[in-house]
Assembly symmetry: C2
Homo-oligomer: 571 residues x 2
Amino acid sequence: MAYTIGLDFGTNSVRCLIVDVTNGDELGTSVHEYETGQAGIILDSADHNLARQNPADYLKGIEAAVKEAVQQAKKADKDFDTSQIIGIGIDTTGSTPIPVNKNGTPLSMLDESRPLYKGRDEFKDNPNACAWLWKDHTGHAEAAEITELAEKEHPEYLAKCGGIYSSEWFFSKVLHCLRTDPKVFEAAYSWVECCDYIPGVLTGEQKPDALKRSRCAAGHKAMFDQQRGGLPAKDFLAKLDPKLGELRDRLYEKTYTVETQAGKLTEQWAEKLGLPAGIPVAVGAFDAHLGAVGSGIAPGKLVKIIGTSSCDMLVSQSSRQLPDIPGICGIVDGSILPGFFGLEAGQSAVGDIFNWFVNYIQPGGEPAGSHEALTERAAKLKPGQSGLLALDWNNGNRTILVDQRLTGLLLGQTLHTRPEEIYRALIEATAFGALTIINRFAEYGVKVTEVINCGGIAEKNPLLMQIYADVTGREMKISRSAQSCALGAAIAAAVVAGQANGGYDNFAHAQAAMCGVKETTYKPIAENQKVYQQLYRLYSQLHDAFGTQDWSGKMANVMKDLLNIKDSVNP
Amino acid sequence: MAYTIGLDFGTNSVRCLIVDVTNGDELGTSVHEYETGQAGIILDSADHNLARQNPADYLKGIEAAVKEAVQQAKKADKDFDTSQIIGIGIDTTGSTPIPVNKNGTPLSMLDESRPLYKGRDEFKDNPNACAWLWKDHTGHAEAAEITELAEKEHPEYLAKCGGIYSSEWFFSKVLHCLRTDPKVFEAAYSWVECCDYIPGVLTGEQKPDALKRSRCAAGHKAMFDQQRGGLPAKDFLAKLDPKLGELRDRLYEKTYTVETQAGKLTEQWAEKLGLPAGIPVAVGAFDAHLGAVGSGIAPGKLVKIIGTSSCDMLVSQSSRQLPDIPGICGIVDGSILPGFFGLEAGQSAVGDIFNWFVNYIQPGGEPAGSHEALTERAAKLKPGQSGLLALDWNNGNRTILVDQRLTGLLLGQTLHTRPEEIYRALIEATAFGALTIINRFAEYGVKVTEVINCGGIAEKNPLLMQIYADVTGREMKISRSAQSCALGAAIAAAVVAGQANGGYDNFAHAQAAMCGVKETTYKPIAENQKVYQQLYRLYSQLHDAFGTQDWSGKMANVMKDLLNIKDSVNP
């Protein structure tokens, strides 16, 4: 018997999974909430863009979560022993960069016993010296500045990330720190992504100069491209600020995919966690990417991670020539699986749109306006019955339009339109958006032969899954694990452990054994599909009309066509 | 001292006003609720299209309402005496036709002591033998049939009513009765509008062959046009049904405007009401039309009666050549004021859209989602601040598109859009719709120099009035009387009484003395106007794009322009 550990560092907590390498059974599982701030996030009442985390919470979290998961595993199987654990894998949120000193210690964690820097006292409670959480938007002006400069001088930097550099990404945050808190910037020898920091700590390979950096994090958020020479050129960064140019020398030249060992678990951490010293720790990656691995991603298999937004992940053999696919962000070699281009698409809001309707509009008050009540009533409606059509752009459109300055649209309301009809129209809108992504992949020769969904909404809302099946004309499968990200990390651990140690030689073998889909799937219903084909034509018309500069045409058909469809399904 | 009585027969009740002819003071006022059915309306749980009224309720209502108003007047002024009452005017809902026998008695009111017809017993409780209330839609199939035949053979019949004959109108109802309850149709010697029936009763000129029919009712709802030979041709009606053709001979050849005496108050009714016998009773008209009179309508003065929907009324000298104005319904000589074309426009839903949002969507539950609470919060927003734009088409578009098969649209939602922002966007949408009507009149040379509003919403919602002022760039005035329809009827009464009897020679003089506007008015605020001019351009773009076949163009600007406006007002 052999087990691996998957550690999943989320926005509010760290989750630990102990997985049976032979069949993917989850023997032990635990969740540890971060202690600092609100639900683990350091906020600033004066600046709603700020979102930071205390890196010390991560370390406490490892210990608490692993110990608890080991306890659970022992309860589940009295023969379980920690000596059977053969490797550790890690996924985290991202881009979540941390300013560190030359030893790789986060500036917020320096204490007076290690007087490396002047002014260190002020760092302990300085959010700028902490981890800059993925959803921190303080660098929005810097993001615009980077986009502008790249458009002018290096448009190729933006080609793989949809043409706009985001405030959520590495250099926006680092540059904002340089501009607004130069003391922290000066004190930082380097910046490391959270998904690099954790493996570094566990393996003792924490020093920035030695740290094996994640291809996934670098390629997506730091404009890293090995073929182009790695990170953006020094003179480009220097034009933003000379000190940013200098920082490049203290970042990295190489990056690694998740089949690489970051190192081996140190004696110290082995003792702390009660695990065997020397077991391999995999190079880290972002949660969505290892979530795709844990859901069984492979060529042709689209993994949809549906939460507040959606991440739609595909892979394509690296040996194959892949065209630029307009609107698809993050085409990075090895970002998901080694040997494959990872293709990342997604919708800027899915669950967030339903949450908006329930929490901001609060239709029908409580309990009439809960997700459950609205879903129950919406499920009784037939496709097309309400005469409504919506665009899923309340938070902009990530794929395929890559335009944050798009907004929502609802059309077809009468004096009798009810909340559940709007709720269903919003679900349908996200389904139409999902189909648009699949079609874009197909247009460029990346075929989707299977769709695997994971995330809370996919598991909990059969209506949504059925609508997705009916709209896309494809069977909707659900990832077997409710914790696909942590499972993906455990799979990476099994691969870095290697076949000789009870693990696997490659991801395909590991995935075949360790992940799968649930028995319950959602198949398209022909009758519904027919109506949704008509509605999708109208959705596409609105999508292209409001979302693209190229479109030109008439609109007078839209309301009438919707009423005709409504009449045809309400005989 | 001289007084007149205005009787206003509404959907749920009859209102009586006793008005001082010299200054329009309302000395006595009363409301009597109809007794039959739900809130005065006979409904059919098996057919939501059915809405009827018991004509006996009208007669009971006259007695109760007049007596109560007289009591009120006596309380208000101990010198008041009913001998000072010099005339009676009447307005009613419409089209509200009633099947009557040769004596003018509604079939539902025949009793056994007057055995004129066989089978009369069954009429008493038969809704088809009652008054067919304006909002009865049982004749929708017949309306479509009439429209189709008229389009083919007599398009001129539809030219003045917007191209579509409505299920709410006279012939749709009569034809539906013929088709579905031939016994009632056969038993009916004729059909009379409610606004003709009441004056007939009070004057004893009740027999259909003698009854002076209202120009207002005939011209609007029965396709009557004196210049064309009156009602639609016999052979046209006969093609719908031979018996409908025969009915034409028992309808009318002439119609009368509201300055005409219908007759004099009978001894019997004088005694019943405690009023002087022989005082003149004016020919009746529809409520909106006399409401316009009571609000001071005159050339250039647009009267907006804002309720669940809006009626926008203008008059133009009959001596002046008036072009067909596309989208303006009911251009009828004398329908509002004698000597003037009455021009009737309107929005299919105004208050009904806000009611839909509050009652169907129920945003924020109670009390957060009440009209009052939403208005209070919406009032704190600046124009353009929400980034939202709506079309006011939840119930179709009456003017200027004349298209019931248009539907609502809301655009610009984000994940933070709040109910009060939507509520304000809906108010703004109705304001943009109102401006579109004013602009259409102006394009065809009918200038609007003054806007007078009446109706509950206009009186109770200063935010709405301010937005209307800012959007239209015109001062919004409010009719002084809260009961403009009944006041208009009282004005008609003063005119039919004549100057010699303490009344007036013409409407201009009567209106000058008896009606006016409130001191509080709403003036455009330049800063708001500027933003609304930008928003109106976008509204017009959506309006033309979704509402007309001719429009063709781009849409990509809409969401961006809204965000730019939003950014400019949220510095």
